[in-house]
Amino acid sequence: MTVGAASISRPVRERASRGLWRDAGRRLLRNGPAIVGLVCILIFVVGALLAPVLSSYDPSVGKLVDRMKPPSPAHLMGTDLLGRDEFARVLYGARLSLQLGTISVVFGLFFGIVIGAAAGGLGGKVDALLMRIVDVLLAIPGILLAIGIVAWLGRGQIQIMLAVGVSYTPIFARLLRGSLLALREADFVLAGRSIGASRLRLLVRHMLPNALTPLIVQATLALATAIIDVAGLGFLGLGPGDPRVAEWGEMLTDSARFLQSAPYLIFFPAAAIVISAIGFNLVGDGLREALDPRLRR
C-alpha cells in the first residue's frame, strides 16, 4: 500500500521536466549498472583512439624471434604465432570492431527507419508489401542472413557492415512501424491533421520524433550483438580477411589451436569482445529504464 501512495505523490514533488532527453540523461547517470557500462565502452573508445600512443608496436608486423611469448612487461598480452604484439592487436582490433559494429547498426537503422516509416506512415498497400518483405527477412536467423550475404558479396569491411546491418533492418523496421501505428490516432497527430498538416509533415515532424525512443534503445542493445556478430563472422573465416588489420573474431580463430599451449592468445580478444558487449548491453538497459521510468523496479 505504501508503495502506491509514494508513486502517487512522486510527480508532485518532482521538479519541472527539462525535456525528455535531458531527464533521461540525468536518470542514466544515476543508474549504477549503466555507469559501469559507459566505463566499459569508454575504455575501448579511448583505447581505440589512442592505440598508437598506448602501444609502440605495429599490430600487423611482428618479429618471428618473438613469436608465442607469454605476457611480460615488454608484451603486456604476449605475442602471437607471427610475433605480433597481442596488446597492440587488441587495441587496433577495438578500432575495427567498434567501427564495424557501429556502422552496421547505423546501416540497419537507416534502412529500418526508411522501411518502417514508409510502412507505418503511409499504411495501406505499401505497408502490406513492406511488411511481407520484413517477414521474409525475419524468417532467416540473423547470423545466417549475415553469413549468407558475406558469402555472396565476398569478404571485406563494407560487406560485413552491410551484412550485419541488413540482418538488423527488419527488427528496426518492425519496431518503428509498431510505434508509428500506435501514434496514428494520438491526439496531437489528429490535431495536426485537423489543421491541414500534410501527411509527410505529420510523419517527419510529429510522429517520427515521438516514435524514435524505443528504436534508440534497441539500437544501443544491437551494438552489443553487432560486435558479437562481426566477431562471429571473423570466427567463421568471413572476417575482413585483411592481414593489415586486426579483428577480434579472426584473432580468436587464429589462436584456437593454441588453446592448450597459449590460452592467453584466446583470453584477451575474448575478454575484449565480452567487455564491450557487456558495456553496450548495460547502457542499452539503462537507457531503456531512463526513457521509461515505469520499467524500474
Binding site: 547470423i143 552489443a224 562471429g232 567463421l236 575474448a270
Partner: protein, 334 residues
C-alpha cells in the same frame, strides 16, 4: 481455432514465396559465377557455357525461377556443385545431429531460465535477483564461440571431465539407425553409449543455449513481476488463497504468455547459433555443413539450407502462435 490456424497457414504462403524469390535472386544476381566456382579461375569459355547449360543457367531468369520452385515443390532442392549429391539428402543426414543439439540447448535454456527468472522475481532487487541479473547479462554478452572455448579449456583440457568434440566416442562403434545418437544408443540398448552421447552433448548444449537461457530468464522475471502487481493477484491473496495456489493458478498462467512467445522466437536464434556451435565443437550437423559450403562457394547448398532453416523457423513460429492462441483465447478473436 481451426479458422485461426487456416488464416495463419495462408499468411505463411506469401512469406515463403518471397523467401524463395529473394534466395533465388541472391544466387543469380550477385557477383561470382557458379560455373567458375566449379571449374576454377582458368576455365575456358566453352567449358563455362557447358556448365551453364547443364545447370540451366542459360535460360531466361523467370524460367529458371519456375524450374527452381517446381523442383522445390517436388522436394528437389538442387545438388551440391562440389560432390553432386542432392542437397536434401545431405541435409536430412545431418539434420538429426542439429536437432539433438538444439533440443538439448532448449532444454537447458528453458529448464534453467524459467526457474531462475521466477526465483529472481520472487525477491526483486534482492541479492538473488542481483546474481540472476549478472548471470543473464553474461549470457547475452558472451559469444557462443568464446563460451565454447572457455568451457572446452576448463572442462575438457584442464579437468578432463567432458569430451570437447564430436557426438560420440567412435571407439564405441554405435550402429546409427535414426542418426539421433541418443535415440540410437537407447534403441541399441547400450547404456555406455547413451552416457557417452549425453556427455558429448553437455558443453555444446550449454554454449548454444546460453543466449536463449539469458533472454528467457529476463523475460520470465519481467513477466512474473508484471503479473504479480496485478489487481487480481492481490485479490487472490486477499481471499486467503495459499501462496502456492496464487503462484500456479493466478501468476504463472498469465506470465507464461510472453515466455512462450520468446521461446518460439529463440528457436530461430538457436538454428543460427548452431552454425557457430557446431564449428567450435566439430559437431557433424547442418551448421558445420553450411559453413563448409560457404567456404567452398557451394551456392545450392547455402541457398537451400537457408531456405530449409527459414521453413523450419516459420513452422516453429506457427506452432508457437497456435499454442499461444490456445493459451490465450483473446488472440483467437483478434
Amino acid at each position: 481455432m481451426l479458422k485461426y490456424i487456416v488464416r495463419r497457414l495462408i499468411g505463411a504462403i506469401p512469406v515463403l514465396i518471397g523467401l524463395s524469390i529473394i534466395l533465388f535472386l541472391f544466387v543469380r544476381l550477385l557477383p561470382g559465377d557458379p560455373a567458375i566456382a566449379i571449374l576454377g579461375q582458368h576455365a575456358t569459355p566453352a567449358l563455362i557455357l557447358q556448365v551453364h547449360q547443364s545447370l540451366g543457367l542459360d535460360l531466361p531468369i523467370w524460367v529458371q525461377y519456375i524450374d527452381y520452385v517446381g523442383g522445390l515443390l517436388h522436394g528437389d532442392f538442387g545438388a551440391s556443385f562440389i560432390n553432386g549429391r542432392p542437397v536434401l539428402e545431405d541435409f536430412l543426414l545431418r539434420f538429426p545431429a542439429t536437432i539433438e543439439l538444439t533440443v538439448a540447448a532448449l532444454i537447458f535454456a528453458v529448464g534453467l531460465g524459467i526457474p531462475l527468472g521466477r526465483l529472481a522475481a520472487r525477491h526483486p532487487n534482492g541479492w538473488i535477483d542481483g546474481i540472476v541479473t549478472v548471470i543473464s547479462l553474461f549470457g547475452i554478452s558472451v559469444p557462443i564461440f568464446v563460451l565454447g572455448y572457455t568451457m572446452v579449456f576448463i572442462f575438457a583440457v584442464q579437468l578432463h571431465w567432458l569430451p570437447a568434440t564430436s557426438q560420440i566416442d567412435a571407439r564405441l562403434q554405435l550402429p546409427l539407425v535414426t542418426n539421433f545418437v541418443v535415440i540410437d544408443a537407447i534403441l541399441a540398448g547400450r547404456p555406455d553409449a547413451l552416457v557417452d552421447a549425453l556427455k558429448h552433448l553437455v558443453l555444446p548444449a550449454i554454449a548454444l543455449g546460453s543466449i536463449p537461457f539469458a533472454i528467457i530468464t529476463r523475460i520470465t522475471r519481467a513477466s512474473v513481476l508484471d503479473v504479480t502487481n496485478e489487481d487480481y493477484v492481490r485479490t487472490a491473496r486477499a481471499k486467503g488463497l495459499t501462496e502456492k495456489r496464487v503462484d500456479s493458478r493466478h501468476i504463472m498462467r498469465n506470465a507464461w504468455l510472453p515466455v512462450t512467445t520468446i521461446i518460439g522466437l529463440e528457436v530461430g536464434g538457436l538454428l543460427g547459433g548452431a552454425v557457430i556451435t557446431e564449428t567450435v565443437f566439430s559437431w557433424n550437423g547442418v551448421g558445420s555443413w553450411v559453413v563448409d559450403a560457404i567456404q567452398n562457394h557451394d551456392y545450392f547448398v547455402v541457398q537451400s539450407s537457408i531456405l530449409i532453416f527459414a521453413l523450419i523457423f516459420l513452422v516453429v513460429n506457427l506452432v508457437v502462435d497456435i499454442g499461444y492462441a490456445f493459451l490465450n483465447p483473446r488472440i483467437r478473436y483478434a
